[in-house]
């Protein structure tokens, strides 16, 4: 029973972390698509020469507006908060033109410099309502509105306020472009790349397609480490459980051998038992994954988004079964090597 539970936890661990990785990336893609832009422009990577993350000047906006087929350009500033959270500086009037604006569930747009707007999940996680105060970036902010999730970001402040606070007036982290015909986005991107070498310029479709586990090296490595740990945990748990089982059944094994059971017959018995434990454990693990998903949705809906990734079910199952079977090798060998006389006299 304990072995089944341990394997279940192992499978839950794998599926939960894979689900969070997929969920986080899909959530980012959903927010990006929600902006309503056709093209995303980001500055070249962090530069050791400027000792900055090379934010772009707001003067790029009129430059982009003059480009063929570009009908609108606006930018945002992104500031990191704790964990994976960010605070996005946005010009609401421009954002309205780009995407149709936020749909407020409670309250409304910014009224004062220290106002924030947050999405429903962030509000639920942090227990915020309109008029609540929250401390971010070492200063208090008042929540002026709660909007429907899925557009741009979870937490937004006024662009100019964020620029001033960070000593980066007229600076932007990224720029969104709208073109007259979405089918023309790719040629516009290619034209801009020629004019702005080194800049990250992609259609939104391209950008969201990059948000996969394989394209984010950190996540890929993270999942690799988790799988490695899971295999080791499965191996140790099953190894100990089966070793104990072999010790407990020393007499039974001795009787079987005395009755003429071959080594392969005893190994087959042990491995079949291990397989049953691993399969039941995998099923339990998959079931428990729905529990962690529910927990995340209710405890930290804004910070962690967990998806059910069905294609990982057989992978997680194979990992747990492999770990379990590997763990059964030594106890199996021990059982096969037992002396019949000693086994029969074992108390």
């Amino acid at each position: 029973m304990l072995s089944v539970l341990a394997i279940g936890i192992e499978v839950t661990m794998i599926l939960t972390l894979v689900g969070i990785s997929y969920g986080t990336l899909d959530e980012a893609a959903r927010h990006a698509r929600g902006v309503g832009a056709d093209i995303l422009v980001r500055p070249p990577g962090a530069s050791v020469i400027s000792l900055s993350t090379s934010p772009m000047s707001q003067e790029f906006l009129p430059f982009f507006m003059k480009q063929p087929h570009v009908t609108f350009a606006t930018g945002t500033m992104i500031q990191p908060l704790s964990g994976l959270d960010t605070l996005t500086g946005v010009d609401l009037a421009d954002f309205d033109k780009l995407s149709g604006g936020f749909r407020f569930l409670k309250g409304g747009p910014f009224e004062h410099d220290d106002d924030l707007i947050v999405d429903e999940y962030y509000a639920r996680e942090k227990k915020l309502t309109v008029g609540s105060t929250i401390e971010l970036m070492n200063r208090p902010w008042r929540v002026s509105g709660i909007f429907e999730s899925g557009k741009l970001a979870r937490v937004c402040a006024q662009l100019t306020v964020l620029q001033t606070l960070t000593g980066s007036p007229r600076k932007l982290s990224q720029i969104y472009l709208k073109v007259d015909d979405p089918n023309r986005a790719q040629p516009v991107v290619e034209g801009l790349r020629a004019k702005l070498p080194g800049y990250f310029i992609h259609t939104m479709e391209e950008f969201t397609s990059y948000l996969t586990i394989n394209s984010v090296a950190l996540l890929r490595n993270f999942i690799g480490v988790v799988i490695g740990i899971a295999i080791v945990v499965g191996f140790i748990v099953v190894s100990m459980a089966m070793y104990t089982a072999v010790l407990e059944r020393t007499r039974e094994i001795g009787i079987l051998k005395a009755l003429g059971a071959s080594s392969s017959y005893i190994l087959d018995l042990l491995f079949r038992e291990t397989l049953v434990i691993a399969v039941i454990g995998t099923g339990l693990g998959i079931a428990m994954t729905y529990g962690t998903q529910w927990l995340m949705m209710h405890a930290v809906p804004a910070s962690l988004t967990q998806e059910t990734v069905y294609k990982w079910w057989p992978i997680a199952g194979a990992i747990s079964i492999t770990g379990a079977l590997l763990g059964a090798i030594f106890p199996g060998w021990k059982a096969v090597k037992q002396d019949v006389i000693q086994a029969l006299s074992y108390e």
Partner: protein, 229 residues
């Protein structure tokens, strides 16, 4: 033809006269030798600085002004603190592998571990501060463009092209003006791909000031600290 000869003679005269006037013009070997001699005794410096960042595609120049303090903590260990004032107020401190940025309006310090980029950040940002000539020769193809006068200071103008391919991708050329008086940089121009550049001009440079405690590079103690990576 005669007009051409006259112009050529005039040019030669100007060149000779300017060479005579700029008595600080030296051969590259002499400059390197001078920098090699000065480097070991470099312990620190303070200066005011003006940084102009030019973005070619939009033809925009952004200027930041402030002060810089440099202090040597070991043979290859230079720490610095750059304090920008005005609307771009920020303080940047590089201490070994740790880059700290202080935002005064947030009273917050963000800490970045720059790890393997430490040497590049230190050597590029502080290019000319206690830099031996042999180090310049090792890392750059150097052209000596002769004597020049920048910010009312007599200097030699060196044009440096990085030898390392990975640096060359980010930095196509550096123009460095070294003061004849105290062997410190008067101006650095970092030429980036695509025509962008970053021009850093130093004035009121004090090399090895008598009182430069380690605390001169400290950021406010009461600020909130955030680790960014």
């Amino acid at each position: 033809m005669k007009i051409l000869d006259t112009k050529l003679n005039l040019f030669i005269c100007i060149a000779v006269v300017s060479g005579a006037a700029t008595g600080w013009a030296q051969s590259t070997a002499e400059i390197f030798s001078r920098l090699d001699r000065a480097a070991p005794s470099f312990m620190g410096a303070t200066a005011t600085l003006r940084v102009t960042t030019h973005t070619a595609v939009i033809n925009e120049d952004e200027t930041q002004t402030g002060t810089v303090t440099v202090k040597r903590f070991g043979p290859n260990e230079l720490h610095f603190l750059i304090k920008f004032t005005g609307e771009n107020a920020q303080t940047i401190a590089l201490k070994g592998e740790k880059l700290e940025i202080y935002y005064p309006k947030l009273n917050t310090i963000r800490e970045y571990d720059i790890g393997k980029y430490k040497d590049v950040a230190q050597k590029l940002s502080l290019l000319g501060f206690g830099t031996p000539g042999r180090e310049l020769a090792a890392n750059y193809e150097v052209s000596n463009l002769g004597g020049d006068r920048v910010e009312s200071q007599d200097s030699v103008h060196l044009q440096l092209t990085p030898k390392a391919a990975d640096v060359l991708k980010q930095l196509t050329r550096v123009d460095l003006w070294i003061s004849v008086k105290n062997n410190s940089p008067v101006q650095q121009k970092f030429q980036l791909p695509g025509g962008d550049y970053r021009l850093v001009t130093y004035s009121d440079v004090s090399v090895n000031p008598p009182h430069l405690p380690a605390s001169a590079l400290d950021l406010p103690k009461n600020a909130k600290r955030e680790r960014m990576n």
